[in-house]
């Protein structure tokens, strides 16, 4: 026999369970779920890329889709990135909503011509007559000993292209949300996934949701310093944050998510609060996202800064194969701790 109080509690838990029911999955499954739901919702959504069909994609993001939707809607293409991206652009201009997968983001450098000269431009040069609602996605970033050509970070190269949007996912929750939002967007969106994050596990809501493409995510509110990061570096930052908390610091961690355009509203509010900024990114020092972010913050919030903005990026070297060398080309938590200590002196 339960007491009335126990009945009340169990009632609350039951309601919460029903209202906020969740399921657990890995990041690549979250991407797949988002893609599948959008394909069910809108028959114009289609997928094209190398080995996306029966093979299910190099990281299994398109697993099972070919079986469910047929191999015309989930198209295995010959090996020609510039061409299947061009194909996606052509299909988008005639009303389809293609999701183009680069087997590894680095290969999309071959598609630069189509992405820059056509994808970003044709809506503008046609006077608005033709829209290109395409999503270009793929795994990128520095992995575990994949070699230099498979460790590219293309966000630096693509950030100048007018007409495109860029987002980077980092958790199963925002992966699914950003995938869905990107597909529904009328603009061409490049969705950056990271090779080492595909097996992250999280409980995500059962109901339909999307994430705002232009919004940054507050990971950990704090008072002392604003740490801006994205993709895999978020996890290095959070690791460093644990150490920092133990040392008595209170860092505010923001996953900027939207690489183009920057969410200067969220970032600005944070800068106004903490007055110190550290950027932790995985792309190279020269011409990276951090460089643009420093410029944007300095232009808009210079008066609120108590110290120059610090930026930790990967070394300006091709990523070496040897594990030990590879580790030191990217930013490690220890460096982040040191940087915060320096900033907060």
């Amino acid at each position: 026999m339960l007491t009335p109080f126990q009945y009340l509690l169990s009632g609350i838990y039951l309601t919460r369970y029903i209202l906020y029911s969740r399921h657990e999955l890995l990041l690549f499954e979250a991407l797949q779920e988002g893609l599948e739901e959008e394909m069910e919702r809108d028959i114009r959504v289609c997928v094209m890329g190398e080995d996306v069909g029966h093979y299910g994609g190099s990281y299994k993001v398109t697993k099972g889709l070919a079986k469910k939707f047929g191999d015309l809607r989930v198209l295995d293409t010959p090996i020609a990135e510039n061409s299947f991206t061009g194909m996606g652009i052509g299909a988008a201009m005639t009303g389809l909503r293609p999701v183009v997968e680069g087997m590894n983001m680095g290969f999309l450098l071959l598609a630069f011509n189509q992405i820059s000269n056509n994808c970003g431009m044709l809506h503008y040069t046609s006077g608005g007559q033709f829209t290109i609602p395409i999503v270009i996605r793929g795994p990128g970033g520095v992995g575990r000993q994949l070699g230099a050509e498979h460790s590219q970070r293309l966000e630096s190269y693509f950030q100048s292209i007018p007409g495109i949007q860029m987002v980077a996912c980092s958790t199963p929750y925002n992966a699914k949300g950003l995938m869905k939002a990107a597909i529904r967007s009328e603009n061409p969106v490049i969705l950056f996934e990271h090779v080492l994050l595909y097996n992250l596990k999280e409980r995500i809501p059962d109901e339909d949701y999307i994430c705002n493409l232009e919004e940054a995510e507050m990971v950990r509110p704090g008072e002392h310093v604003t740490i801006l990061t994205y993709s895999r570096m978020r996890y290095h930052v959070m690791q460093a944050a644990k150490t920092l908390v133990n040392k008595g610091y209170d860092p505010e961690v923001i996953d900027i998510r939207s690489l183009k355009p920057f969410d200067l509203y969220t970032i600005g509010n944070s800068v106004k609060k903490t007055h110190r900024v550290l950027i932790v990114e995985e792309c190279m020092r020269t011409g990276g996202i951090g460089a643009s972010l420093i410029a944007a913050i300095t232009e808009n919030f210079n008066d609120y800064l108590d110290a120059p903005i610090m930026c930790l990026s990967s070394q300006d070297v091709p990523t070496p194969y040897a594990g030990t060398l590879e580790e030191v080309t990217v930013v490690q938590p220890a460096q982040i701790v040191t940087a915060v200590e320096q900033l907060c002196q």
Binding site: G70, R73, A92, M93, Q129, S185
Partner: protein, 487 residues
């Protein structure tokens, strides 16, 4: 049932193949009217079963059939093999590899880099405009023939006047289609309004056929507020969604893979239309040419790849562009049916494109058409072609091999056109063009606000900020900015 049809037609084709084994391997590819392998118009001549097969009604359920075919590809291969092995004289010397069975030989021979004779060129009219007796061609109605001819004349005059306008400094750039009028007009005439055009840049004739007015052409060249492109692209980079003519993008050959994508879209929607993508001889050297054709073939996409082989890519002659027998032979390399046509013969172009369109849509396959022609004008207003080619060569093609004169002779000989109509047309077009240019010149340029729209669906905050800054600067320093910019 579809599989049975495939097997039986394959066997038939295989038997034919065996009888002309050596020729098939890479010898002369004669498009001979009397041979059983002529894929042309079905005019009572023998047509291979392979051509007929796809006309069956089952093929309409394309999406599912494609699914079924793809899953069963290897299965059908195996069935086919067992069927064949029952034949006594066949295949006792063949070897299995991914991609299928292939017979082997112990005689080492290399396929020659070129065949003994070049692929012949399909033409219907003699050089002087007389119809070749006993030829195969698609009949044109009087209305269409007159429209085709008038458009060719209009295109000629338009090219002359706009070229002059550029020389006078009134527009910044122009590119003529001199010598290639038959190609753009006649190919457009053979298509329907629903067929989607992906041009290179020397095909304004297609837009003209589809009803783009002289004023609309002028507006784009002057980049004024009435331009559909809102003044954002350089002259001759026309684009019109309502005419199914996709906005021209300067990089060469990027439209070829896009054509495969649009055809893919048409397939998904099960539309009875095709895509026509134009390219020049030079453009076929681009990587996108290879991949665009390869994709279209693999995807069984209804695309017509129309190559205007006009002999010159700016200053690069075709002999420096490729070493193959033109472009037509490349079709086979991708598994694409192809034809070589006399590009200065409007009727031949019309017939070939009509046939190609039917095949592309009914059989869901790409077709490659190489139209041989000559670029009479300079590449554009940015070069002087007499610097890299002989003047008498240009004059020869302009006078003796002119496609407009040739077609005029034909239309006049049947009595559908007269000298009087000729003078009337030329005068009227010239007058209209001069008026259009005047109007276009006087029309306002697009306002400042159009600088930042259409980059995205809605201008993001950073662009709004940039616009605000720019507006303030222009308002504060009006003397430093052109007076005809409306803020």
């Amino acid at each position: 049932m579809a599989n049975w049809l495939r097997i039986s037609s394959r066997t038939v084709a295989n038997h034919i193949k065996k009888r002309m084994n050596k020729e098939f391997m890479g010898g002369a590819v004669h498009v001979n009217q009397s041979s059983g392998l002529w894929w042309g118009l079905n005019r009572g001549g023998p047509v291979s079963d392979r051509n007929r097969r796809h006309m069956d009604p089952l093929a309409w359920n394309r999406a599912t059939l494609l699914c079924v075919q793809r899953f069963k590809t290897t299965l059908a291969e195996k069935q086919h093999d067992s069927f064949l092995s029952s034949d006594s004289d066949d295949d006792n010397q063949s070897v299995d590899f991914p991609g299928g069975k292939v017979s082997y030989t112990s005689e080492m021979s290399f396929i020659s880099e070129s065949s003994q004779t070049r692929v012949p060129c399909y033409r219907v009219l003699e050089d002087d405009g007389d119809l070749i007796s006993d030829c195969d061609f698609q009949q044109v109605s009087k209305e269409d023939a007159v429209k085709m001819y008038s458009n060719m004349v209009t295109l000629q005059i338009m090219d002359n006047i706009f070229y002059e306008a550029q020389r006078q400094g009134r527009i910044s750039f122009y590119l003529t289609s001199a010598g290639e009028e038959a190609i753009s007009i006649a190919s457009a005439a053979a298509l329907s309004e629903q067929d989607i055009i992906l041009p290179q840049y020397r095909e304004p004739g297609v837009l003209l056929w589809r009803g783009f007015t002289l004023q609309e052409f002028a507006d784009q060249c002057f980049g004024n507020k009435a331009d559909y492109g809102k003044g954002r692209q350089m002259p001759i980079h026309y684009g019109s969604k309502k005419h199914n003519f996709f906005t021209i993008s300067s990089p060469i050959a990027t439209q070829l893979p896009q054509a495969a994508g649009i055809a893919y879209s048409l397939k998904m929607d099960n539309k009875k239309a095709c895509v026509v993508s134009y390219i020049g001889d030079g453009g076929t050297s681009e990587g996108d040419f290879h991949a665009g054709l390869n994709f279209a073939a693999v995807m069984e996409a209804p695309v017509i790849f129309f190559c205007r082989n006009n002999g010159w890519a700016i200053s690069t002659n075709v002999s420096e562009q490729f070493r193959s027998d033109g472009i037509v032979v490349k079709g086979r390399a991708y598994g694409i049916r192809s034809i070589r046509v006399d590009g200065n013969d409007a009727l031949a172009v019309y017939s070939a494109v009509s046939a190609a369109r039917e095949m592309a849509i009914n059989e869901q396959r790409p077709i490659l058409i190489e139209a041989l022609t000559y670029r009479v004008g300079h590449h554009s207003t940015s070069d002087d072609s007499t610097k890299y080619r002989q003047l008498d060569e240009i004059v020869y093609w302009k006078k003796a091999r002119n496609p407009v004169n040739r077609f005029r002779n034909w239309v006049q000989n049947i009595g559908w056109w007269s000298e009087q109509q000729e003078t009337q047309l030329r005068n009227s077009v010239r007058k209209q063009l001069l008026e259009a240019i005047q109007v276009a010149e006087k029309t306002e340029k697009p306002p400042l606000s159009e600088l930042f729209t259409d980059v995205y669906d809605h201008p993001p905050s950073n662009l709004e900020e940039q616009e605000k800054h720019l507006r303030e600067t222009v308002t504060r320093h009006p003397k430093d900015y052109p007076s005809d910019i409306s803020v």
